[in-house]
C-alpha cells in the first residue's frame, strides 16, 4: 500500500460557505500520499475530518467535467491535478469555481453555464433523420477539421471560470458555449448555419470577447476557444460585408 510520504501533513485551506453563509476559509491538515489528486484531498477531508464538506465529482478521470475548482487561484479539474504539482510550501488553497453561483462550499450551480450553451444554439439542427443513411463526410476536409478542433470539450467550465469578461458581464455566453457554436457552424451536417451566427451576435455574444486568451491557457483539454470565437467574429463580419454563409 502507498506510504504516507512525509511526517508533516499538508495544510489545506478550503473556502466554505454559500448563500446565507458568507464564504470563509477553513484550514485542515491532510496526510500527504504518493499519487494523490486534489479531489482525493478534498474527499479525505469530507470522509475523515469534516463530514459536512460539500463538493462534486463523478468520473474521477477527467471525462465528466464536474469536479472543477479553484486550486491556488487557478481553475482546474481536481481529479486530474496531482497534489505535488500544486503544493506550495506544504500548503494548498481550494475554492469553488469562479464565475458561478455557489451552492455550498466547493459545489457550484452550473446551470448558468448550460443555459448559455443552449442560448448559443449549442445543439445539432438535423438535416437527416434516423431513416436515412449516415452522411459520408471527409474527415480531412477544412470544415471538418475546424469542427473537430473543439469537439472534445467536456463542458467543465474551467475556461468560463478563467474568463474576466464572464466575470464582468453576466450576459456573456462564455468561451465554451461559443466554441460549441463554432463547431456546429463548421459541421456540414448541421442545418441553418445562419441561425448560429444570429444566436452568437446578441447581447452576450462573441463580440464581447476581448481575446484575453485565459480560456485557451487554462483549458485542461488543450482546446482553443479563443480561436473558435475569433472564427465566429470573422464569420459574422464576413456576413456583414455580404459574403454568403457557408
Amino acid at each position: 500500500m502507498a506510504e504516507v510520504l512525509q511526517q508533516d501533513p499538508m495544510r489545506v485551506t478550503v473556502l466554505r460557505g454559500g448563500p446565507g453563509a458568507p464564504m470563509r476559509p477553513e484550514t485542515f491538515e491532510v496526510p500527504l500520499y504518493e499519487s494523490q489528486t486534489v479531489l482525493d484531498v478534498v474527499s479525505w477531508i469530507q470522509q475523515n475530518s469534516d463530514p459536512t464538506l460539500s463538493y462534486r465529482f463523478a468520473c474521477r478521470v477527467g471525462m465528466c467535467g464536474s469536479c472543477a475548482m479553484m486550486v491556488n487561484g487557478v481553475p482546474r479539474w481536481t481529479c486530474r491535478t496531482h497534489v505535488q504539482k500544486v503544493l506550495v510550501g506544504g500548503a494548498i488553497e481550494v475554492g469553488p469555481l469562479r464565475n458561478l453561483p455557489v451552492i455550498k462550499d466547493l459545489a457550484v450551480d452550473m446551470d448558468p453555464f448550460f443555459d448559455k450553451w443552449v442560448e448559443a444554439e449549442g445543439r445539432h439542427h438535423p438535416t437527416r433523420t434516423r431513416d436515412d443513411g449516415i452522411a459520408p463526410i471527409d474527415p480531412e476536409s477544412a470544415d471538418r477539421q475546424q469542427a473537430t478542433a473543439g469537439i472534445e470539450c467536456i463542458n467543465c467550465s474551467v475556461c468560463y471560470a478563467a474568463c474576466d469578461t464572464v466575470a464582468g458581464n453576466p450576459d456573456y455566453l462564455g468561451p465554451a458555449a461559443l466554441q460549441r457554436a463554432w463547431t456546429l457552424y463548421n459541421d456540414e451536417k448541421n442545418a441553418d448555419r445562419g441561425s448560429i451566427l444570429d444566436a452568437v451576435s446578441g447581447k452576450g455574444g462573441c463580440h464581447f470577447c476581448h481575446s484575453m486568451g485565459s480560456c485557451t491557457i487554462y483549458c485542461p483539454n488543450e482546446l482553443n476557444p479563443l480561436a473558435a470565437i475569433a472564427g465566429l467574429k470573422s464569420a459574422t463580419a464576413r456576413r456583414f460585408f455580404g459574403r454568403r454563409d457557408r
Binding site: P51, G62, R80, T81, K104, R123, T129, R180
Partner: protein, 587 residues
C-alpha cells in the same frame, strides 16, 4: 424528527430517473411520442450530462453497419458472448435497434463518429466479435454521445430535477401499480415525493461495492435496491463483469480502479507479474489478447500466488512498442496517467481487475415494462440482454436502444392512463424512515465500513468464487449491514451533505451485495463473468438457466428459471449457411 409532513409534493406525467444514455434518450422519445402537453421530468442524482457511465464509454458502440456485418451476426456474437444466458428477444431487439439508434445519434442528435478516409463510418473490432462492428469517436465515444444528447435535452421543455436522488419506489395502497418516487433534493437536503403516471428507472446499476471499480462515483445500485425493496424480480444478479486492467494507485485515491483501456492490450501491451514475467500465456493461448473474463482471472490468479500486501497487482508494460509511439497512439491514456504521476509510455503501471459493469438487473419485457404497472426499466438497471457477459460496445448500445424504447413505450402507455395514482402512505413513511435512520444516531465515520464491504466483495464474491467463500461473504456483508445501522450522520446541516449520501450509498450497496452473493451461490456452474472454482464447467448449455432473485418478506430468495431459446438453440446458428465464422482477420 422528519415526518411525511415535511415532504414536498410534486406531480408530473413522465418521470425519468437518471440521465445516462438510457435516461436522456427516453426523455427525447417521450417528448416525441407523448400527447401534446405531457409533462416530462428528469430527476438525476448528479448533473444532467455529467453523471453516470455512459459519458465514460471509451471503446465505442456496437452496431451492425460495418462491411459484411449483419444484425444476425451481431446477435449470434451477443448470445455466444453471454454464454447462452441472454434473453434472446431482448438481445435481438438490441442488435436490430442499434442500427436505427446509431443513425438517430448521427443524424438527429448530432454525434460525429470517426470516419474512414472515404467518408464512411469507421468500425473496429472489440474482443469477442466476429466483425468490425464498433463505431467510436476516438477513445472518447461516451463524451460525444452524452454531450450531444444533453444539448438536445437541455434545449427542450423537460423539467429538470438535478441533484435529486431517488430513494424509494412508492406503490399504490393496493400494491398493483407505482404511484411515484420519493427523492432527496440533495442541494437542500429536503425530501420530495413526485407522482407520475409512468416512471423510467435508468439509474445505471454500478458495481461499486468492489474494492476496485470503474463506474462513476454517483452510481451505487440505488435503482436495483429500490426495485428489490419494491418486491420486483431481479435476474442474473451474480453476473459482475470485471475489466482486467484497472489502475492501482493505493486506497487513498479515487484514481484506483479506473480503467486503462482495452486497446493497450490489443496493441501488444504486456502484462507482467511481480517478478517481471509475462504470464497470460499460462492461462490462454491468446495471451494478453484473451477476453476480459479470462485475463481478469489470469491476473487474479497471479495476484493470489504472489499474495503480497505491499505489491498487490501486476504490471502493464508498453515500452517495448516504443514510448514515443505509445504516447502518440494512446495520447489521452498516457496523459491521464502522467497527470496522476505514472509513466504509461515508458514505465510500468500497476494494474488490477476492476468491477466494471453489472449484467444483472430488473426483469423486463422487450418494451422495458416491468411487473409493476407504471414502472419501466432500461439501461444497466435492466437485466437480460447480456446474459452472463456483456460484449465491449454492447453496453452503450443497450442503454441508448432501450432508453429510446422506454420513451416510446411510456408515451404510448400514458394515453391509456387516467389520473395520477395515490401512494401508499405507509410505504412512503417507511422509506422516509429508512433514509432518516442515521440522522438520529451518534455520528461516526462511514468510510471504514465502505472499505470493509469492498474488501469483502473483492475477497469472497469477486473474480473467482466458491461456496465456502460466498458463505463467508454473506456473513461479512451481514455484519457490515448491521454495523452500518449504528453509524450516524450529524443532522444539523443536510444541504449537500455528502456524508449522508455516502451512508445511503452504502446501504444500497449492502442490500445488493447480499443478493449478488446469494445468486452466485445459486449458480453451480461457471458462465461468462461468473466463475466458481468449485464448479468450473459451464454445465449443459441446453439446460441453461438464469437466476431470479426477489425479496419476499424480509428474505431474498433465488430461483432458477430455464432460458427460453426463442430464436436459436445451443449448437445452432442463425447465420446463413456458408457464412464464415469470423470476418475479423486474425491478429
Amino acid at each position: 424528527m422528519i415526518s411525511t409532513q415535511h415532504i414536498d409534493r410534486h406531480d408530473t406525467d413522465v418521470l425519468i430517473l437518471g440521465a445516462g444514455g438510457a435516461g436522456l434518450f427516453s426523455a427525447l422519445h417521450a417528448l416525441q411520442g407523448a400527447p401534446e402537453g405531457t409533462k416530462v421530468t428528469l430527476a438525476v442524482k448528479g448533473l444532467i450530462g455529467k453523471s453516470g457511465c455512459t459519458r465514460m464509454v471509451q471503446g465505442g458502440y456496437n452496431v451492425a453497419l460495418g462491411p459484411g456485418d449483419s444484425v444476425e451476426r451481431h446477435f449470434m456474437d451477443t448470445i455466444l458472448g453471454g454464454k447462452w444466458l441472454p434473453d434472446q428477444d431482448m438481445a435481438w431487439r438490441l442488435c436490430e435497434q442499434a442500427v436505427v439508434r446509431v443513425r438517430e445519434l448521427e443524424n438527429e442528435i448530432g454525434c460525429f463518429f470517426d470516419r474512414n478516409p472515404d467518408g464512411t463510418l469507421h468500425h473496429k473490432a472489440f474482443a469477442g466479435q466476429t466483425a468490425d462492428r464498433t463505431v467510436h469517436k476516438g477513445d472518447l465515444t461516451g463524451i460525444e454521445i452524452i454531450n450531444r444528447l444533453m444539448e438536445q435535452v437541455l434545449a427542450r421543455p423537460v423539467e429538470k430535477l438535478q441533484e435529486h436522488r431517488a430513494i424509494g419506489l412508492i406503490p399504490t395502497a393496493d400494491g398493483a401499480a407505482l404511484a411515484g418516487v420519493l427523492m432527496i433534493d440533495m442541494r437542500t437536503g429536503r425530501f420530495r415525493f413526485v407522482r407520475a403516471k409512468t416512471v423510467l428507472m435508468a439509474t445505471g446499476g454500478g458495481p461499486t461495492m468492489y474494492k476496485y471499480h470503474t463506474p462513476s462515483g454517483d452510481k451505487s445500485m440505488d435503482g436495483l435496491a429500490m426495485a428489490l425493496r419494491a418486491g420486483l424480480p431481479l435476474r442474473d444478479m451474480e453476473m459482475v463483469q470485471f475489466h482486467p486492467t484497472g489502475l492501482l494507485a493505493g486506497d487513498h485515491t479515487r484514481m484506483t480502479g479506473t480503467v486503462l483501456e482495452e486497446g493497450l492490450r490489443g496493441a501488444g501491451g504486456r502484462l507482467l507479474n511481480h517478478s517481471g514475467q509475462r504470464f497470460m500465456f499460462d492461462y490462454d493461448p491468446k495471451g494478453e489478447r484473451a477476453t476480459r473474463d479470462v485475463v481478469s482471472r489470469g491476473i487474479y490468479a497471479e495476484m493470489r500466488k504472489n499474495n503480497n500486501p505491499e505489491q498487490e497487482g501486476v504490471f502493464i508494460s508498453m515500452a517495448h512498442l516504443g514510448p514515443a509511439n505509445v504516447a502518440q497512439k494512446f495520447k489521452g491514456m498516457v496523459k491521464r496517467c502522467a497527470d496522476c504521476g505514472f509513466d504509461l509510455a515508458g514505465g510500468l503501471v500497476e494494474v488490477v481487475p476492476t468491477a466494471h459493469y453489472f449484467m444483472g438487473g430488473v426483469v423486463v419485457d422487450v418494451d422495458t415494462r416491468t411487473a409493476m404497472e407504471g414502472l419501466y426499466v432500461a439501461g444497466e438497471d435492466a437485466g437480460g440482454a447480456h446474459g452472463s457477459n456483456r460484449l465491449g460496445g454492447n453496453g452503450v448500445a443497450n442503454s441508448t436502444v432501450f432508453g429510446g424504447i422506454a420513451g416510446d413505450t411510456m408515451a404510448a402507455d400514458i394515453r391509456g392512463m387516467g389520473a395520477l395514482r395515490d401512494p401508499d402512505e405507509a410505504v412512503l413513511e417507511a422509506e422516509l424512515a429508512r433514509a432518516c435512520h442515521p440522522l438520529s444516531r451518534p455520528p461516526a465515520l462511514v468510510l471504514p465500513l465502505r472499505k470493509a464491504l469492498q474488501e469483502a466483495m473483492w475477497d469472497e464474491v469477486g473474480v473467482m468464487r466458491s461456496e465456502a467463500g460466498l458463505k463467508r461473504g454473506l456473513a461479512r456483508i451481514a455484519g457490515i449491514s448491521e454495523a452500518l445501522m449504528d453509524v450516524g450522520v450529524a443532522a444539523d446541516n443536510l444541504a449537500f451533505n455528502l456524508t449522508w449520501h455516502d451512508w445511503l450509498n452504502l446501504r444500497s450497496l449492502c442490500e445488493i451485495s447480499d443478493v449478488i452473493a446469494r445468486a452466485a451461490l445459486a449458480r453451480d456452474n461457471s458462465r461468462g463473468a461468473h466463475f466458481r472454482e468449485d464448479f468450473p464447467s459451464a454445465g449443459d448449455l441446453a439446460e441453461s438457466y438464469f437466476t431470479v432473485s426477489r425479496r419476499r418478506g424480509g428474505d431474498v430468495d433465488v430461483v432458477r428459471e430455464p432460458v427460453r431459446f426463442t430464436i436459436v438453440r445451443p449448437g445452432e446458428t442463425i447465420l446463413p449457411e456458408g457464412e464464415p465464422d469470423t470476418l475479423v482477420a486474425a491478429l
